[in-house]
């Protein structure tokens, strides 16, 4: 019997050892299969995690979350502010070995717009290019507003100013790939310029990338990246503990709280705020008391942000005092904190004629199941502290989003994630009057004028100043109640260097080195 046990142990050891991949493969987790691995139909987060390592745009984000030039070395705005001339980086090679040129830029933009191509998330950034409509309807097969100068110069014109065009995350692809590999090329290869190229996608198991030896920038220092599909964060943490993963990104709040408390991870964690605002939406058209600024201020001051961070989120969040998150260009670190002030809140409510909640009609904080705890906290707090007759309503997500877009939800706690690292994404979509995503329908002419001006201001510092003014108006008017920012949490093994988090999840892994 004892001999048998020993034999088993030897057998197990042999099996375990044979499954260890070579040391120079960097292994990390993704929570599901990517929905696609081509930059045209690209439309979701997990696909973005993988493709961010294979594809690049005009600009990228550095380790501090700052925008840096990538495939464009420099650019200048047209005098009429209706276009840009981009000077492309020389010497950049696609995974196929072909050089990256202005033709590839034009090709990518056209492919994104072609009807029938199911252009995904990135296609929305092209709507204002001259000729985009004709491309979308199929009337034109060439994009009028894009002119190829020479191999490394491309000129793009718009119907209205698009000052952020250089930072839009549009991933450029190899114009020769379809000729080389056919229409289903994405299953065989990648067509980008990024530090890693596609090797294989084993559905349900992993996506494997290999180093692109001709990469123009730093690295890649590791030979390969293996994105292992791990639906459960608990499993990902166990795999990390057993050294089956070199770095993990925590996708779930509960596991985030757990790993944050566990001392054995303390020196392995990276913690960076996500580019996602959260706020209490107060629709003045639907609930009479919200029309009074003092009521809105009272609500904001009755909420204990620090208490939410330590209690509800177990430390995995940061308090938010404006509507731009740290790490996103235009963030104002000097905004005054909004401390819990029960006395002031009560006094304000009384001043507005609703002392202790008297005369206030009942109202519901509407939310979806995953955010129920948070909404329960708001309802309970507003009831206890202010006497406001508040209840929680949990609804299905899709119908909630539709109702919010239609401006039909009086009171809700919700968030908004930025698609690119500039505050305009938050301000122009969530608080600008005409925007459909202005779900609480707050409207201020002065604010709207500043946003419109910012949309035409190509100079970064001048634009940031406009954001600052606009955000101050929003906060002085108590148009919103900022809540918290989610803390992104990642863990990295000892001996693995160069892994960093941006406000938009992991940076590409070209800087990663392993012992």
């Amino acid at each position: 019997m004892k001999r048998l046990t020993t034999q088993f142990a030897v057998l197990f050891a042999a099996i375990t050892m044979s499954s260890v991949v070579h040391a120079q493969t960097f292994r990390t987790n993704i929570p599901a299969d990517p929905a696609m691995v081509d930059p045209i139909t690209y439309s979701e987060l997990v696909a973005g995690d993988v493709m961010g390592n294979m594809y690049e745009g005009f600009t990228g984000i550095d380790g501090d979350g700052k925008v840096i030039p990538a495939l464009a070395e420099s650019w200048e705005a047209h005098d009429d502010n209706l276009g840009f001339t981009f000077h492309l980086r020389p010497g950049v090679k696609f995974h196929s070995g072909r050089p990256f040129t202005a033709n590839d830029v034009k090709y990518t933009l056209e492919e994104l717009l072609k009807p029938g191509n199911k252009g995904g998330l990135n296609a929305r950034y092209l709507n204002n290019i001259v000729g985009a409509d004709a491309m979308k309807s199929g009337e034109a097969d060439s994009l009028e507003g894009v002119t190829v100068g020479d191999d490394l110069t491309v000129d793009i014109r718009f119907t209205q100013p698009e000052v952020l065009f250089p930072i839009y995350p549009i991933w450029f692809m190899d114009a020769g790939i379809v000729d080389e590999l056919g229409a289903d090329w994405a299953q065989k290869a990648s067509a980008g310029t990024g530090p890693f190229k596609f090797v294989a996608w084993n559905r349900g198991q992993d996506v494997q990338l290999a180093a692109h030896a001709d990469y123009w920038g730093e690295g890649p220092h590791v030979e390969a990246v293996d994105f292992i599909i791990v639906p459960s964060d608990d499993t990902a943490i166990s795999m990390f503990e057993a050294d089956e993963l070199d770095a993990i990104y925590i996708n779930n709040a509960a596991e985030g709280r757990r790993i944050l408390r566990d001392p054995q991870f303390a020196d392995k964690l990276i913690k960076v705020p996500a580019a996602q605002i959260r706020y209490l939406g107060m629709n003045q058209n639907l609930y009479e008391p919200f029309k009074d600024k003092r009521v809105r201020e009272a609500i904001c001051k009755a909420i204990d942000r620090d208490g939410m961070v330590s209690g509800l989120f177990g430390g995995a969040a940061f308090p938010l005092y404006g509507q731009i998150t740290p790490g996103v260009a235009g963030y104002n670190p000097d905004l005054p904190a909004i401390p819990l002030d029960v006395d002031k809140a009560k006094a304000l409510l009384a001043e507005a004629g609703y002392e202790g909640g008297a005369n206030m009609p009942p109202v519901k904080v509407t939310t979806t199941a995953p955010n129920k705890d948070e909404a329960t906290y708001f309802a309970a707090t507003l009831k206890q502290v202010l006497g406001m007759p508040t209840e929680v309503e949990v609804v299905e997500r899709a119908s909630h989003i539709k109702a919010m877009n239609a401006g039909e939800v009086p009171f809700f706690a919700w968030g908004w994630s930025a698609g690119y690292p500039d505050a305009l994404y938050f301000l122009s979509q969530v608080w600008y009057g005409p925007s459909v995503y202005n779900r609480s329908r707050w409207q201020n002419d002065e604010f709207d004028a500043l946003i419109e001006k910012a949309q035409q201001t190509a100079d970064n510092e001048a634009r940031y100043a406009l954001y600052k003014d606009a955000e101050l108006i929003l906060m002085e008017e108590w148009g919103t109640c900022p809540l918290t920012v989610r803390m992104q949490i990642a863990a990295v093994q000892d001996g693995v260097e160069g892994v960093s988090l941006t406000p938009f999840r992991f940076r590409p892994f070209n800087t990663v080195t392993m012992d």
Binding site: A35, M36, R124, G204, T235, S238, M239, E244, I401, N405
Partner: protein, 312 residues
Amino acid sequence: MGRYALRRVAGLLPVLAVMIVLCFVAIKLVPGDPVMVLLSDQSGDVELEARLRADYGLDQPFIVQFGRYLAGLAVGDFGYSFRYANVPVSEIIGTSLAITPILALAALTLAVPTGIVFGTFAALRRNRAADIITVFLVVAGISIPNFALSAMFVYLFAIKLDLVPVAGWGSFSQAVLPVLVLAIAPMGYITRLTRTYMLEVLSQDYIRTARAKGLRNRLVIYRHALRNTLVPLLTTIGIIFGGLLSGTFVVETIFNIPGLGRLAIEGIFARDYPVTMAIVMLFTMFYALINLCVDLLYGLIDPRIRLGSDGN
């Protein structure tokens, strides 16, 4: 026997038809909207929403959608996934199709013999210490939920002892823990049932007769008692197998196994109707086929059970 089997297979068709209708209706009734999932933060883009609805045929009236689905099924086309861009359902399911049955069969192969051995062992030592300990372990095995057992096993065997990998699929060592976790509860059931049936059989007259004839104890147990225990056990094993096939999703999620259960969960969350439909259909067929096999096996184990009226 052959005609009986044929008749039973033909009987599956109406079951499948009813299931397709029920499932199609049920999926539409569940709150949620695949297009809203796909739109994510472009939920207010009316133009894009209309395009996506048209792409997936969701702009059509319910009856047209159903008709199109049936027409597709008739030629073996399960449609395209909503979540995975431009990928047919058959391709998505194809890679998972074998994994869940393999997992279930492996667990069953482990659970049935061990369960029968433990059950017999306990029955023959009725009310002695060995019996009581076995019964205690059985109750424990049945009572501890899958996910708790998985967490314990992973912590002990993968993290602390480093004998097997935490998760994954493709090698023998990766299959050890999930199969073990899946096998434990069925092992418990089979042990308990074998013990009960065995005790019942052992008190029968023919066993006393066999013993009186002077047959060796071993022969009495294995030839006479066990064989008669197997008949009622077979039904249970069939049910357990069905349960294993459709109940692997927790284990598949915890151990990162790309099987049908996990795919079903993902499909349901993403409102990926075509994938969900196809998996429900598969599970229905699995169940029906297992029942059929059990019924046919009865006749083999116990010749007294005659199948079909034309048998006499």
